[in-house]
Amino acid sequence: MGLRTSALAGTVIVAAVLAGVATSQQAAPSPVAATQIDLPRSRSDNAALGQARQDPLAARLRGVLAQDPASARVLAVADASPVPVLGPADPALLRTARIFTGDRHYMLVVQRGDDVIEIYGATKAFQSPLSAPAGQPSPNAPPTPGPAANRPATAAAAPPQGPRVLAARIPNTAARAVAEAQARGLTNIRTERTEYGIDVTFNRFGAAYNVSFICNGPGAAGCTEPEAVTFAATLQLLGGGGT
C-alpha cells in the first residue's frame, strides 16, 4: 500500500511538472518597445542658449511680434515651453505661425505660399532597448559634432536587430550652407529628401530638431537642400528652454 501511494504521488508530481513546462512555453518574444529618455543639456549648450537669449536680432524680432496679438500668443506659448523654440527670422512668415506644445516637444508651423514648413524640437528621445548602451557610441552612428557633408553613406553591418542611423550624403553644393549652419551652432546636420519635399535635422542647445518642408514634391522651388539648410541655420530663438 505504502509503495503504491508513493508511486502515485511521484506520478502526480512528474505530471504536474510536465504540465507546467508544457504550459509555460510562450510564443516568440514580442518586439521590444522603445522607452523615453531626457536629453541632457551640457554646459556649452547652456552657454549657447544664454547667448542666443541675448542676441539683439532675436530681441528685435520679439519686439515686432509682440505688436501683433496672434504672434504675441505664439511668443507666450513659446516662452512657456521647456524646449528652446526656434522660429523663422522673417516676421511676415511668423505672422502665419501656429504653435503646438506637448511633453518635452513643440512644433511651430508656418505657411510660405503653397508650402508648409514644420519646425519641430524635442528635449526627449525614444530609445531602443536593442541599441548599444548609452555611453558606448554606436558603430554606425553619425559622427558628432560636425556635418555629414562629403561623408558617403555606407552599408556597414548593423548590430543585430538594433537600430542604426547612417550619415546622409549632402551634396557639395550644400556644403557651404552646412558650414554656415555649423558656425551658428548647429551640429549633426542631416538633410533628407522626402516624398513631399525635404527635411533638415540637427541639434542645438542640447535638443533635437527637425524642419520639414512640405512642398509640391522634392526639389520644388524653395525646397532644395541648400535652401533648407540655410533656412534652418537662420532660425531664431523665440523663447522657451526653461531656466
Binding site: 509555460s24 506637448g102 512644433m107 548590430p159 538594433g162 537600430p163 542611423v165 551640429t187 533628407e192 533635437a208
Partner: protein
C-alpha cells in the same frame, strides 16, 4: 505517505497556466498583473478563503451537459517578418524595435494589406502584368516595404536611402471609401496637397499620404477642429498625389526623436512595420 500525496496534490493545484515555477521572481514575471491593493488589507494579511463550490453528488451525464464553446483563437494573419523585403526590392531595416507601442492601426477597419506600390502589381517595377486592383495586391501576406529601394534619404536603411514609411492598401480597390484613423491623440498640424501631419501627444510625428484631400479639408475646416482623439476618423484612402498619379493606398510614416547608442539624439524616420503588425493584431482581435 498520505502527507506525500497531499503535498503532490497541493503542488498540482498551485500550478498556474504559466507553469509550476517556485521562484517568486519568475512568478512575478509570468503572472497576470495584480489588482490594486485593497487599502483595508494590511500587508501580510491573508484573504479569507473562498468557500469552495459544493461538489455534485453524482457525476453529471456528459450528454446532458450544456456545450461550452472553446475560447476563440486569436485572429491572426500571415505576414512576412520585419525587414524582410521581397526579392529585388532592396534590403530592409534590421531594427525590430516597437517605436510606437500602443499605436492605433491607421485604418479604421480591416482587412488591410501592407505591401509595395512600386514592386506590386500595377507598380512601375511590378513582378508581371496586372493592374493595381489585381487580387494579388489585395491578399496576405503582409510585406514590409520600409527601406525599399527609393531615392529618398533614410539613415535607418542599410543603404542609407530607401522608402521612409509603409504602404498599405485598404480592404478594396476603391477610392474614398475606407476610413483612416488617428494613430494616437494629438493635433493635425498641417494639411498639404497630399499630406496630413499628426503630431501625437507622445511627440511622435505621424504622416499620412495620398488621402482624399478635399474630404480631409472638409473634416477639419478650422484650426480649432484639428485636435483629434486616438482612432478618430481623419479622412479616407485615395490616390491623391498633388496632381500626379499613384495607386489607391495609404503611405504611413513615423518620425520621432531617437537616441541610438551613445550618439546624439536625432529626429529620424523610424521603421514602422513592427508597430503596424502590433496594432493590426489588436485591431483584428477587437482591441484596437
Amino acid at each position: 505517505m498520505r502527507r506525500l500525496a497531499l503535498a503532490a496534490l497541493l503542488l498540482l493545484t498551485a500550478c498556474s497556466p504559466n507553469g509550476c515555477s517556485l521562484d517568486p521572481a519568475v512568478a512575478a514575471k509570468t503572472d497576470p498583473p495584480a489588482p490594486a491593493t485593497d487599502p483595508a488589507s494590511a500587508p501580510g494579511e491573508t484573504e479569507p478563503a473562498t468557500t469552495p463550490e459544493a461538489e455534485p453528488d453524482a457525476a453529471p451525464d456528459p450528454a446532458l451537459e450544456p456545450e461550452i464553446p472553446p475560447p476563440p483563437e486569436p485572429a491572426s494573419w500571415p505576414y512576412d517578418p520585419s525587414g524582410t523585403l521581397p526579392s529585388g526590392s532592396g534590403t530592409g531595416a534590421t531594427d525590430v524595435t516597437l517605436w510606437a507601442a500602443g499605436m492605433r492601426f491607421p485604418m479604421e477597419a480591416g482587412p488591410a494589406y501592407a505591401n509595395s506600390q512600386v514592386y506590386g502589381y500595377g507598380g512601375y517595377l511590378a513582378p508581371g502584368p496586372g493592374g493595381q486592383c489585381d487580387a494579388r495586391n489585395y491578399a496576405y501576406p503582409w510585406r514590409d516595404n520600409f527601406c525599399e529601394t527609393r531615392s529618398w534619404t533614410n539613415g535607418m536603411c542599410p543603404a542609407g536611402r530607401g522608402h521612409q514609411g509603409q504602404d498599405i492598401r485598404p480592404a478594396t480597390c476603391v477610392k474614398k471609401v475606407h476610413w483612416i484613423a488617428a494613430a494616437e491623440r494629438g493635433r493635425i498640424t498641417s494639411i498639404g496637397s497630399y499630406t496630413v501631419t499628426l503630431l501625437g501627444d507622445s511627440g511622435r510625428i505621424y504622416r499620412y499620404l495620398h488621402m482624399d484631400m478635399p474630404g480631409v479639408n472638409a473634416l477639419f475646416p478650422t484650426m480649432d477642429s484639428r485636435n483629434v482623439e486616438r482612432g478618430q476618423r481623419i479622412g479616407k484612402v485615395s490616390a491623391d498625389f498633388g496632381g500626379n498619379a499613384t495607386t489607391i493606398h495609404l503611405h504611413f510614416e513615423i518620425k520621432a526623436p531617437v537616441s541610438i547608442g551613445g550618439a546624439a539624439a536625432s529626429v529620424n524616420f523610424v521603421p514602422v512595420y513592427t508597430s503596424l503588425v502590433d496594432s493590426y493584431g489588436r485591431l483584428l482581435n477587437g482591441a484596437a
